[in-house]
Structure formats: C-alpha cells, structure tokens
C-alpha cells in the first residue's frame, strides 16, 4: 500500500473538491492512500511552502501550482517531468487530455503538470442595472465600446452606483486578457524583447483608461470591487470564471446576475489567458511516482473536472468531461451562467509566465503601472513605456 501526501492551495475553494476526489480515488485504488498536508491560503503561499520543503522530509508527493508559477517552479527543477509518463500512457487522448489542454501545463515543451482547474476571464453583469440604464440585459455588450458606453449610463444612475470593476489588481492576468484579446503578446517570440507596449498593448491599456475616463471606474481594491459588485452597486465586473460559484452565492437574490463572453479588441485573432492550476508531481520515489501519476490523471481527468466545475466555476480542463453527458453535459444546460466560460474555451492560451529570476517581479511592475492609469496619474502611453523600460531591466540578458 502506498500513501501519498497531497498539498493544495485555497482550501476555501478546493477542500470539498479534494475530499470528494480523493474519496472516490481511494475507492477505485484501494492500495493507495491519500492524505492531505496542511493547505495554503493562496497559490503564492503554496509555492513558497513547497520551495521551502524541497529536499526535506516534509515535502508532499503532489501539489497544485498556479499555472503562471509553473515556469518558475520548473526553473528550480521542482516538478517531475511527466513526459515519460505520458509517453508510456497510450490513451491520453481517450481520457480527455487533448494536446491543447496538455500545453497549458508545459514549460518550454516540458510537461511539468496536468491542468487541474482552468479558467478564463468573463464578463459578469448586473442585469437590473443594465436595464435601468436603458440597456438590454438579454443582449449584453459585445464590444468594449458598448461596455464603456453602457457603463457610463449606469454610473449616471447615481446612488453611488459604479460602472465597471475591471480586476486589474493582484497580477497581470486581466491585462493580458485585453492584450491577448487584441492579438498582442507580452514578449517577442524569442523572449528577448518587450512586446506588450506595442500597438495591441496601447489599445489594451487605453481601454482601461477609457473605463476610468468615460465610465468613471473607481480605484477599487480587489475585495472592494467584489463586494461592491455583489452588493449590486456595480454594473459590470470582469474577472475569472473561477469566481462564479462564489459570486452566485454572494449575490443570492439581490439582483439578476448574468454572465457573458468578455469583449475582444480583435474578435478574430483575439485569445484569452488561462487561469487556474495544475497538479504537479514532486516525489522522486519510483514506487510513489506511479501512484502519484495515477492520482494526477484522476484529479485532472473527467471525474475530477466534473467535481471541480460545478463547485467553482472553472471550465473543464478535460474535453471528455465537457462533452460527455455522463459528466457535465447536463450541468451546462441547467446552469446557463456557466456557459460563458465554456464558450470561450477555444480561445484559451497559456497564461504567459516571464522568464528568468525576476519573472514574478515583472508581473508586479505591470500591475503597478496599470494602477497609475486607473488612478489617472499616468497616461496609458507613459504607463506602458515605464513598465516596458523596467521589464527590460528585469529580463535575463542573453
């Protein structure tokens, strides 16, 4: 019998999910026992914990790492390469692991994990406010122009109602949603120069600037934005679909909550970043590794997805799960709010992670400069150029 220690972040989100999955897994694999290490509050703290524990007996056998941190983990040689395991496993595609999906958790072609919970950015809106402002809730805005125009009308309703909450804080994910949506890129193909201050980037940042200027978007902290939206005081919220379940709970019956696809600056070439996390194998012990691989596949597989999606709002990371009525087919019919994320799945590309030791700091630089646009202390142009200058410094010189 093998015992696997599993570590995961955000227990408020994932505890029930993990409990269900591991119970089912142990039923199917009586020779493997799953035990959980103390979870971490956030992805950030999760990866810190793992990095501290590398090489100590405390290190768990499996963990779940935010998709944008896979690159960093890999640079430190923390995850076990799944390539050979996949190679041995003939039926990956049958189990629902398409190439697109496998790619989400690859770093420079190396399979460092399996995407477990995946998300994309969607538009949440308060149908009541939209209606009050003269919009049609059944025909939500398709373009940013429409969003900003309607937002301005909502703002004009007064009564301390705000137009838009665009979740730019925390990391560069939502900025990349605009950037990728315009068909832009963070860095050049060879990762040697900065590309986000190009034309697409300018367009992206200008959208944020217009949200503030034209629609009066306030400077919200992340939590403040969430709270205002669920209180019914914000017209549009743009953020991850992963927050859907909680948002539904927080809104209750206070207003008519709707979701829709996020507008794209370039509706044709536009892509969207993938949020979420991947299950990563840490144990180098051969016997354990096989068990760990079994668990990883199980968790990231159709059963896992069928547990994760309804409980959270993440989109299925597994094509089988998405399509098969055995898993989620019916669920989407009954829960239209969840469809926005599902519809955007084809546009999902990996969440871009910057190379080198300063990868994380680069993200913070982008956030800091975005905040200058939001509080109007810099023009989009200045902000992007400053960010670009600084990021150039932070990238590895090759």
């Amino acid at each position: 019998e093998t015992t696997l220690t599993v570590h995961y972040p955000m227990p408020g989100f994932f505890k029930d999910v993990m409990d269900t999955i591991s119970k089912k897994f142990m039923e199917e694999n009586p020779d493997i026992k799953i035990q959980f290490a103390n979870p971490s509050a956030t992805y950030e703290e999760g990866i810190q914990t793992i990095m501290r524990q590398v090489g100590t007996p405390e290190m768990p056998d499996l963990t779940f790492i935010g998709l944008n941190r896979l690159r960093m983990a890999n640079e430190r040689d923390i995850p076990v390469d799944m390539g050979p395991l996949i190679a041995k496993d003939k039926s990956m595609a049958e189990q629902g692991f398409s190439d697109t999906i496998l790619k989400l958790a690859q770093v420079n072609g190396k399979q460092v994990g399996l995407a477990f919970a995946t998300s994309n950015p969607i538009m949440y809106y308060n149908a009541d406010l939209v209606k009050a402002a003269g919009g049609n809730p059944d025909n939500p805005p398709k373009s940013w122009d429409e969003v900003i125009e309607l937002g301005a009308k909502i703002k004009a309703l007064g009564n301390s109602v705000d137009s838009i909450d665009f979740r730019w804080q925390g990391d560069d994910w939502m900025f990349s949603a605009l950037l990728f949506g315009a068909g832009g890129k963070m860095l050049s193909e060879d990762e040697s120069s900065v590309a986000f201050n190009g034309l697409e980037g300018q367009k992206a940042m200008t959208i944020i600037d217009r949200m503030v200027k034209e629609a009066g978007m306030p400077v919200f902290t992340k939590a403040a934005g969430e709270q205002a939206f669920v209180a019914g005081k914000v017209g549009f919220a743009f953020q991850t679909t992963g927050a859907l379940r909680n948002t539904i709970k927080n809104v209750g019956g206070k207003f008519d909550l709707r979701t829709a696809e996020i507008p794209l600056i370039d509706p044709v070439k536009g892509k969207l970043p993938t949020g979420g996390n991947a299950v990563v194998i840490l144990t180098h012990d051969a016997a354990k590794r096989d068990a760990a691989w079994k668990f990883a596949k199980f968790a990231a597989g159709p059963y896992g997805a069928s547990v994760v999606v309804p409980g959270t709002g993440y989109v299925p990371n597994n094509e089988l799960a998405a399509k098969s009525p055995e898993y989620l087919g019916d669920f989407y019919k009954q829960n239209p709010l969840f469809q926005a994320g599902l519809k955007q799945m084809p546009r999902m590309i990996p969440w871009y992670a910057f190379p080198g030791a300063n990868g994380v700091r680069v993200t913070q630089t982008i956030v800091d400069n975005t905040s200058r646009v939001v509080d109007q202390s810099a023009t989009p142009h200045e902000a992007l150029d400053d960010a670009a200058d600084e990021v150039k410094r932070l990238l590895p010189r090759s």
């Binding site: 810190q48 990095m51 501290r52 960093m72 705000d162 306030p218 205002a228």
Partner: protein, 309 residues
Amino acid sequence: MADIAASSGVIGRTPSRTAERHEARTAWLLCLPAIVLVFLFILLPVAAVIALGFSDFELGYAGFKFVGFENYAELLTDRTFQRSLWNTMVYTAIVTPVSIFMALGLAMLIETEGIGRSFFRTAYFLPVASLLVAMATVWQYLFHPTIGPVNAMLSQIGIQGPNWLGASSTVLYGLSIIGIWQSVGFNLVLFLAGLTAIPRELYAAAEVDGARSGWDRFRLVTWPMLGPTTLFVTTISIINSVKVFETVKTLTEGGPNKASEVLLFTIYQEGFVYLRVGYASAMTVVFLAILVVLMFLQYRIQDRQVHYT
C-alpha cells in the same frame, strides 16, 4: 574605651569585591537560560540573515554564492525600498503617539469611572485579540468606498468619504487607523497595569497639596510615576509600528502603486514572492541597523528621566 577607634580605617582586602562577585555570579546564573535561548533563537538566526545578506541565495535553488556588498549596493538605488522606508516612518509617526495617548487617556478614564470597568477594558482590548485574517475582511468592508459603513456615516454628516484603502493618498491613513485600533488595547493593558504600581498615598498627598483637578494630579503624580511604563509602551509601540506587516499583506498588498509599501512587506515580497532571499536579507540587516540606532537613542534619553530610586 579601647574598642573605640576613630581611626581612619583599615582598608584591607576590599570585601565589596567578593560580595559583588557573588552577586554577579547569581545574576549570571539567573540570566543564563535566557541568554542561551536568545543565542539560539535570535542571535544565530540573525547571524544567518547577515550572512545571507552577502549572498545571492534564492528560494528553491540549492546552492548560492557570496557576492560581497552587491546586495547593499543595489539597495542604495532601490526606489521601492526608499518608498517603503518613508511609508513606514509616516505610519509609525501616526500610530505610535496616537495609540499611546489614546491608551493613556482611556486607562485613566476607565479607572476613574466606577461603572462598567470590566466591560470597557474588554471592549478596548478586543482588537488585540482579533484574528487579522478575519478582521481584514471586516475592515475591508468597513472602509469600503461605496457600501462601507464608515463612509455611509460620513455622508450622514455631509462629508464625502475618501476611498480609504484604494487611493494612494489615503491608504496609509486607513492602515494607520487600523493600526491604532489594534494597538490601543495593547497599550491600555500596559498602562492599567502600570497604574496599579502607583502608591495611593501619593494621590492623597497631591490632593492635600492642592492638586484640585484631575489634570493636576495627573501632572504631579500619575505621569511621572508612570514614567517606566510610558518608556516601555513607547519603545514597544515604535517597534510594533515599524514591524507593521499583516494588515498591509492582507488588505492592500503594498498598493496601490506602492503607496502602502512598508519595510517588512517589502522584505517579505523580495524574499518570499520574488524569492530573492539574499537581497531580502540585506534589507533586513539595514532595517535592523536603523531600528537599533533609533531605539537606543530613544531608550537612553527616556530612561534617564524615569527611574527615581
């Protein structure tokens, strides 16, 4: 009469030496466990931090190499670090005096007032016992620019409430208010305990001497007799304010645009988020050095004035 000698003294072996040695030895023995533990849990780790400050150690990598003063050189030009030094100073300059004087005032009010002492003590102490993880959420809500009770209250009296934690111009004040809220109870308990050490008889003397108002008695007896407590509270308050971290981490993450970057948060961010432990260690060393100098000045100046025996 023979046993009278107004002699100018047989100054032989000085007995005082031996006695002093005795006393010193006892003192050492009593301090020993503390010294050992300080060594183990404070000095050694600090030494390790100092050593790391000269290295390029990064979390997750096994090896590292020593880079001399490179980290320190980088610090000189690090704008974030400078910003966070300044912010920490502002925060400390607000939180320390306000929380000390508020606590002192409350302690005196509570002790003069007969009714509800336990209740008031507990009410003001509760913030100290709060779990910040949960309280952060609460403050977030209380300070919410649109649906928050604080601004709702302000608008009742016709004031347009600020965007407390969201705007870079107010975020430090918002955090300061929370900081004061957290530390008043702490200081209050210390002051309450300090008040008990004042002999009642001195108040009697003050009354008889014509100290009519509470203020006179305060100036004449309470304030000077609380000297040691005040010294202690000041020292601890400064240190605690400079070490502000949790509220920043949970409420603002240093934002917006570094408007609430404070030293410990910056160090944490460098060490654990950007994973540059070596650089963070150098920051820590500078942080400690500044504090050590500051505290010694403050302590030496105040200590002279508060001990009477």
